[in-house]
Amino acid sequence: MLNYWFYSHATWEVATVVCSAMVILPLIGLFFFHRLVPWEVREPDTKLVGLSYALCGSVYAVMLAFVAVGTYETMEKTDSVASEEANSLGGLAFDSAGLPAGLAVRLRSDIDKYIDIVTGSEWPNQRAYRMEERNYEEGWAQLRQVGLDVANFEPETQGQATVKAELEHVINELFSARRARLLAANAHLPNAVWQMLVFGLGLVAIYIFLFGPHNYRMHMAVTGLTMLSVGLVFTLIIALDYPFRGELSVSDEAYVVVKEVSDRAFSQAIPGAAAHEKKK
């Protein structure tokens, strides 16, 4: 429910809500704490609290920063996985020139259909985190068709046999890349990590309450700014998590480019191929 909200709204809206909640709730907590534990009790030990807070604060800060960077790196890797799949599709389209003309046209047409399924159906499903297998069955079926086109082809010459071997190699890579993409689309920060981050934040907030500054407004400012800073990093983690979901997500540009580039490059480099495409 909360996840759905995060990824169906703009990042600035998520940032506003997350940061506001993370600043206002601790300030309310501070208000009550201030009433329960008088300032006079806390003031003499402010230095002690501060020195021990250094350890607690630093551990939490380093952990938070590492999680943010780890999420960013995962997003980059996922981008590479999608590029790998697109690269294999491009390789198949280019190698198809070595097949008999009719089969080459059919293979390129099947590759184009697969790209249409990926960009037209699978990408919107990934963005909305509809990861049920049935949403990806059409893509698998089309990819199996691409595999069958090549597997059923009986080469008549040595040259065609070599082309077939290379195509089979690329198809295997394509299957692996697709599987890796679908797994990556499911991946996200484990709930346990989120729980640790939120629980740790609670401890940090309580630690800040223990300080006994002379000015209550100063205490509010210190608490608010610390929470705002952590809230911004939380927003960054939310934006980068679920790499195929939401406003900031891996795009399908690589697939779109493969289709356009292969079609145009073929029609310019091999006029015969262009004629076949038109007949189709």
Binding site: V62, T162, V233
Partner: protein, 275 residues
Amino acid sequence: MLADFFYNNPIWLVGLVVIGVWTGLSLLGLYIFHRLIEVRVRHKDTETVGLTYAIVAVVYAVLLAFIVVDVFETFSKSDEIATAEANKLSNLMLDSTGLPPQMAEAVRTDLQSYIDIVVKSEWPSQRAGKLDEAEFAPGWTVLARLSARLAMFEPATMGQNVNKGEMLHAMNDLIKARRSRILAAGEHLPYVVWQILILAGMVAVGYSYLFGANSFPIHLAATGLISATIALVFVLIIALDYPFRGEVSVGDDAFVGVAATAKAAAATVEPAGHH
């Protein structure tokens, strides 16, 4: 617009502007804050502010440092991608010696014209941030022609067939490397990450306003130095981001090297070909 300014000017100028603007605004903020909240109000709690600054400072410092390292790694990877592409071109040049002379000559001509397009047209386009598909269309056309030439080639001997297999494989790797280079040329730090870095930087600088220093010039100096350090890291990120753009970018040396090696090799092989 801002990216154009960053990547069309020398890095020292970009550095001066970024550090100047960021530090200037931080000091202006401190001046206004100093007028609004008297120093005696803050002075008593300077110790508390200093002790609680830890978390804000550490989160921001670690995050900033890691993002610099990541941008640097992306830059290195882009360099590796360009080198991989050049290596595949070199492999194809070398493998072409096993083809019939006429075919080998045609393959080498295609490879040479591809290198010319990459060095003379695509690299300047990448440096200027012009990444429209049209900029890369001539390169794709040459590769499609070469790929089709190899795929349609009918070997007359077992040896030629092995060569064909190896060249088709190298060709696919070349296409992958090219596609990866074009994608890498458009890669940059997501805007959301920039926005968070700037906002969190403002919080880190703003926190330092809460100190109640005895001397206002010392407070100015401390805030100015914190801001300048943050801005310096921003400049480093700007310089390394967009790996194929601007003054600090991946060079075309690997492609130039392949072209030079190929010319030298052709001069050596030619007499044997004639023979």
